[in-house]
Point group: C2
Chain length 255, copies 2
């Protein structure tokens, strides 16, 4: 039985302010919650819709949670109605603790880091995290004006990859990149003025930075880049969606 207090807590986590205050975030759906449990994220509470609890995938999640001593609640339709989710309630959700990630975690055992500068759309950020996971890139750095990692829309579009990739939000991206250059990282940017990405040569210790679709890389970040690359097009449109550009880039440098 879900208390009013818990429902209120869940709904408050749709706001960034409360995610920051509590250090928690919401994961919705079988795929996301399953990945949280499998990847040993700190799940504080699992909520399963009572009506669907015998459904195999949900029953499996409930069993896995029980095994890991994670508190679980079965919840009736009347309570579900009070929970605000990004879409219709997908049968299951979890309250998860945000991991403490610092810059050192992101650079440890890593030869390639994907970095985003001002990517504001949570759906794009989530899709990029998922794509990084596909290509085995484990480390990402975000500028402070990127979409928030724990926004429900970001989390949903990572499809669970958020629990495998270390994503660190830098308070001052240019300063962080300067520091990493001193640690021997080369910094490459994606920019319309750059050389053809198809001709890039493999390189150890690389940070690849993508900017926003409308503004590109910020001037400070651009000035730190050792080289710029571009995805050559043939048509008349002016730009690619940033998540698609990231996919093409990763396919080239990480596959």
């Amino acid at each position: 039985m879900l208390t009013q207090k818990t429902i209120k807590q869940i709904n408050s986590l749709n706001q960034k302010k409360f995610r920051q205050q509590t250090g928690l975030f919401i994961v919705e759906g079988v795929k996301g919650v399953g990945e949280a449990l499998k990847n040993k994220a700190e799940v504080e509470l699992l909520i399963i819709e009572d009506e669907h609890k015998n459904q195999k995938d949900l029953a499996d999640l409930a069993r896995l949670a029980k095994k890991n001593k994670i508190p679980g609640e079965f919840c009736q339709a009347s309570a579900i109605k009070k929970i605000k989710t990004t879409d219709t309630f997908p049968g299951v959700l979890a309250l998860v603790k945000q991991p403490d990630i610092i810059l050192d975690d992101v650079i440890k055992n890593t030869s390639m880091i994907l970095c985003l500068d001002g990517v504001r759309d949570p759906g794009n950020l989530g899709a990029i995290i998922r794509t990084a996971d596909w290509f085995g890139i484990n480390s990402m750095i975000l500028s402070s004006d990127c979409a928030e990692i724990y926004n429900p829309k970001t989390v949903r579009s990572t499809m669970g990859s958020i629990f495998r990739i270390k994503v660190w939000s830098s308070p001052e991206l240019a300063a962080s990149l300067s520091k990493l250059k001193k640690h021997g990282f080369k910094i490459f940017g994606l920019d319309l003025s750059g050389s053809d990405l198809a001709k890039i040569m493999p390189c150890d210790k690389t940070i690849f930075v993508l900017g926003s679709e409308s503004h590109g890389l910020s001037p400070k970040v651009a000035s730190l880049c050792d080289k710029m690359y571009n995805i050559k097009g043939k048509g008349q449109t002016e730009s690619l969606n940033v998540a698609i550009a990231a996919g093409i880039l990763l396919n080239k440098i990480a596959s």
Copy 2:
């Protein structure tokens, strides 16, 4: 001055039923409306927010519309409030006639066609149309269960590319592909079981089919494929976002 009737008509076009009945759709924003005008789409009405009419980009659009004898209205904040848009009103919108596209248009002067089977998310469909435009692919075929081409979210995420790419919605995709095979087209599919896409050889008269993220290609369509390809990953996630997969594919075969 916008009449109640016009406002009602605009708002009705948020529904597929009315888009089909009237053969019209809505384009929002400077970029989309600008591309509609530049690419000689049949714009029936242009609406510009009165408050911003002296803004250079909007004034340019108004001039271009006037030159092409397209009816335009300047519209006050009180009327704007009554218009339902996908987000906040972006200063300008247009009512545009859906072009009559038939299969013959799509295959004319084309050696490569991108085909989508069951891609239901309008944002993904729009991003794919925009990416096709980037790589100079001018023809697309959609299965009937794909997102609708003229859904406002699809239109918005094409960023105007919808006015350059011929997109045909097939009532029965497998039957259409069978017919195209008889016209000499090879059909390649993207599937997790396929060969490495990195090794694909250029080929004339090709149709490349992508399925939905959750269900892949439908069995009938899969059985028509001459060969399957796959984008090799290294991480642990099970699939790529379909728009990102399309981007990687097009970068490989069309750049």
